[in-house]
Structures are given as C-alpha cells and as structure tokens.
C-alpha cells in the first residue's frame, strides 16, 4: 500500500495525465512520437488533432497501455505506465473509459449485454447491473433499444452503446479515438454533445479527431501533433492546417 501511495504521489492531485519527454519508436521506420511533453488536468476536455501519421493513434495506445514507451515517463491516473505490471493493467483500464471509431462492440450480444459486460468485469452484482445499465442507456438515448444487436443499429447508435459501455463504470478519464470518424454530421454532433455533457459532470475527456468543424466550433483545448511532435497546445484552440 505504501509503495502504491508513493507511486501515485508523483503526480499532483490536479494532474491526471503526465507525459514527460516521451519517445516511442517502432522496430521499423521513423519514431512515432518524439520528446512529447503533455499534462492534462482532472476535468479537462482536450482534442488531440493531427493528420494521418502524426502519432495520434500511438499516443492513445500509450495512454491505454496497449503500447509501452521507448523512453521518457508516462503517468496516467497515478499509474506509472512504463513500470505497471501486466496483472495490474485491467484495474488501471477500469478507470479509463474508451471509445473507438469502429465502436468495437461484442457483435453477438445485445445492447444491454454489451454495456452490462463492463459492469460484470468489475464484479458488480446483478442487482446493481439492472439498475445502472438502463440508467446509462437512458442518458445516451437508447433505453428503448436495449434488446437490439449491434448490427440492427445505425452507426450513431452503435457509438452511443460504446459510449454507454465506457461510462457505466464511471471512469475518471474517457478516451475517444476518432469517435465521429464513421458518423454523419448530425450523429457526430450528438456524440460530441454527449461527450461535453459527460465532461461537465467531471470526467476528463480526451478526443482524438480529424473533424475540423467540430474542433473549431467547440473551442476546447487543442493539442496538435505533427510527425510525432506536439507543434501546438492551445486553450480554446482550433484545427491547424498542414502547410
């Protein structure tokens, strides 16, 4: 316990994500991230933008601890991700909601079961699951479709299910990797409004996106990556065009 407290004390109470001089190189090709320094505070809403190959996906994978850094240090919610043990990763991820562009729903399970699955993982009782799942489905506007299988839903609805699954365990941080990438403008805006609402309730939201219109309209913090380097980090920023 003492060791854990010491580890967590390396990040301030306010700071929830801290990347210091992070480099990530794959075995082939140029480094994906070079000397990245990024601090995100609890309750922030941050866009991470950049063109293909800029290192956005690598950054998300590092935050999820899907990949490990090559050098530097990365601390998320008090976990030192360069040293975290394999068996501790599930516990770390339970505080980290994640939404992907391709939704990643369990195709053979209905909406209810997809969301309930996140609760079963943390061993919630059936009573709690029966209370929490309908409540989160109501928030994302899918209360009436709990029996539907993913393939019976539109793209926007599938993303809402993914969002409900990410939120049902009340995560500290929500990572959304191109959440509107497969959606039409109307659905994209609805998803972004939901993310904003979630952020207003205290969850730190990090959105990786290509969507210029949304980034410019929402006036949130924008971190721009280019060829693996942070070229801009602005409060109430906008989408920076490639030269």
């Amino acid at each position: 316990m003492a060791a854990k407290k010491r580890k967590r004390s390396t990040v301030s109470e306010k700071e929830i994500i801290n990347l210091t001089n992070v480099c990530k190189a794959y075995s082939t090709g140029a480094p994906a991230l070079k000397d990245v320094n990024l601090r995100i505070n609890r309750g922030e809403f941050v866009f991470i933008v950049g063109d293909s190959g800029s290192g956005k996906s690598t950054l998300i994978k590092l935050l999820l601890r899907e990949l490990t850094i090559t050098s530097g240090s990365i601390n998320v919610m008090g976990y030192d991700l360069s040293r975290i043990r394999h068996r501790k990763i599930p516990k770390f991820r339970r505080n980290l909601g994640v939404v992907f562009q391709d939704f990643r729903l369990l195709k053979d399970r209905n909406v209810y079961e997809n969301v309930a699955f996140a609760q079963r993982i943390i061993q919630k009782s059936n009573k709690e699951i029966k209370k929490n799942v309908p409540s989160i489905l109501a928030i994302v506007g899918l209360a009436g479709k709990y029996k539907a299988k993913p393939k019976q839903l539109s793209g926007g609805e599938q993303q809402r299910v993914a969002l409900a699954r990410a939120l049902v365990n009340k995560p500290t941080v929500l990572l959304a990797d191109e959440p509107t990438g497969n959606l039409d403008p109307k659905n994209s805006w609805e998803i972004m409004k939901l993310l904003e609402q979630i952020n207003e309730n205290g969850t730190t939201v990090i959105v990786v996106t290509h969507n210029r219109e949304i980034v410019n309209a929402m006036q949130k913090r924008v971190v721009t990556l280019k060829k693996g380097v942070i070229v801009s980090d602005e409060e109430k920023g906008g989408y920076i065009d490639e030269d």
Partner: protein, 298 residues
C-alpha cells in the same frame, strides 16, 4: 470470484458453444476423429495383447527329477521355483497322474497290457510363466538346481511370443506417434480458426479492463465442453461397433471364438472411458488456454 460472476462465466461458456456453431462443430469433429482412431486402436491392441497373454500363460516349462528324489525335496524345489518373479503358476504332476494322462492321450484301450507304471520316474512340475521372455533365464536356473534330471521347454513358442510382444509394442508406439502427430495438426488448425474468430472479442474485453482470468474462463469452459462431447461421441460409436464386431466374429467364425478369448466391451471401456474423456477434456482445456493466451497481452 463472486457467485454471480461464476454463473455468468459458466453461462457464457455454454453460450459460446452455440454462438460459434461452426467452430464448435469443427472442434468436436476434430477431437472426435482423433479419439475415435485412438479408441479403435486401443480396442484392437488390448485384445491382441490379451490373446498374446493367454498364449503366454499356456506355455509351460516341465521339470523332471532324478530317480530317488524325495517328496520333501520335490516340494522344496517347487517352493523355490514359485518364488521366482517370472513364474505365475507351478503345477505338480505325480508319476501316476503323468501315466494316466499319457494313457488317455496316446494309448486308450491298448494300455491294459501294462501292469506297472512305466513312467514311475516322471513326477514333475509344469511351470507357467508370467513373462515368456524370461524362459531362458528360468531354464538356466532350473538346470543349476540339484536333483533335476531334465528341463523341457518350447524354445520356438517362447521366442515367437516374445517377438510378437515386441512387435505389438513397436507398432503401438508407432501408431500412437502417428495419431499424436495427426491430432496436433488437426487441433492446431482448429485452434487457428478459433483465434481468428475470437481475436477481436478478446481485445475488446481487455480494453474494457477484464482480467486474464475473466477473459479466459468462458473459453476454457467452452473448450472443456467441446472436449467432453468430442470424447463422448467416439466412445458411444466404438461401444456399439465393438459389440457388433465381436458378435459377428464369434458367430461367423466359431473356430476363432474357441481359440481366442476377446475382451468384453466392459473390460475395454473400464480403461478407455476415463482415458478418452481425460484426453478430450485435456485437449479442450489446453487448446482454449493456448488460443486465448496469445491475445491476452493487449
């Protein structure tokens, strides 16, 4: 693990069987075919071994005594022989019994002319071996004992049976090796299909924060059930076929039935059932562990 998590895992394991029908059927078919071959081979080999063993038990070494050997000495020699590990049974045949048997076998009514026992010195032991390959060693030992006049044995039968035994052992090892290689090939192919079907599902579970145990458990339950069914099917088929074949052979070839004693289906299945079920469940268990393990490090 909470009780509701346990039942959830169990339920998911059973549901997985039906969710991935084709994978389930392919896996069951693979395990069934391997265990069918194994069962068939086992039934044939155990019967063959039984026949060889019966033949071995019929091979006897006869020990005849020098003239004037006392009954006490004969008894002492009998006890010494019985203590040998390769000896399964020792039968004493007195001179009178030997003459009676000889008359019965060869003379019939012509024996009436004999007033005295011409085989007065033919009291002997018939020694039956548990391991016929040890016959030479036993004969050497017997010849070294005092008061032994002659040792009779059938060298040809002993060497033939020893050869047959060795052949059965070599063939068994060879066929088990081939079956094992075929099983590994078929099962690894099926597992590869399983991996491609499950990869995404396992990844999603891991991203949400499922522990390795939580991800693995339904797959392991599913694998063990596939193994169980995969083992039960060939057992059922072999049970029926075995009875039919034995009935057919013993009624159609009655001569064989008098010469050879086939094992009953119960004798074969006493061993085959637990071994097959164990292998089936084991393959299912290991297969699912291997399938899932590759994707757990996400």
């Amino acid at each position: 693990m909470r009780i509701n998590s346990f039942f959830y895992t169990l339920r998911q394991g059973v549901r997985n069987l039906f969710r991935n029908k084709w994978f389930t059927l392919a896996s069951i078919a693979t395990i069934s075919s391997c265990l069918f071959l194994f069962g068939l081979f086992y039934a044939i080999v155990t019967n063959f071994q039984n026949i060889v063993k019966s033949a071995q038990e019929g091979v006897a070494v006869s020990v005849l005594f020098e003239e004037g050997t006392s009954e006490a000495r004969m008894q002492e020699i009998g006890e010494m022989i019985l203590r040998r590990t390769e000896v399964s049974e020792v039968q004493f045949v007195s001179a009178d019994q030997a003459w009676e048997e000889f008359k019965e076998d060869y003379l019939g009514d012509y024996a009436d002319g004999f007033t005295e026992n011409p085989l007065a010195n033919s009291a002997h032991y018939d020694i039956y071996l548990s391991d016929v390959s040890m016959q030479s060693a036993l004969v050497t030992y017997l010849e070294s004992l005092e008061n032994i006049r002659q040792v009779n044995r059938s060298e040809l039968v002993a060497t033939t049976l020893t050869g047959v035994n060795a052949l059965v052992a070599y063939v068994s090892v060879g066929i088990i090796g081939i079956l094992f290689a075929v099983s590994v090939f078929l099962i690894s192919n099926t597992v590869m299909i399983g991996i491609s079907v499950r990869k995404e599902e396992i990844n999603i579970m891991k991203y949400i924060g499922a522990t390795d145990f939580f991800v693995r458990s339904p797959f392991v339950i599913e694998g063990m059930m596939i193994g169980l069914v995969g083992a039960a099917i060939p057992l059922g088929i072999i049970y029926g076929v075995y009875n039919m074949v034995i009935d057919y052979v013993t009624t159609r070839f009655a001569v064989l039935a008098t010469l050879l004693r086939f094992l009953t289906v119960e004798e074969v299945f006493n061993v085959l059932t637990p071994v097959s079920l164990g292998i089936g469940v084991g393959i299912g268990f290991l297969g699912s562990i291997v399938t899932v393990r590759k994707h757990l490090r996400v």
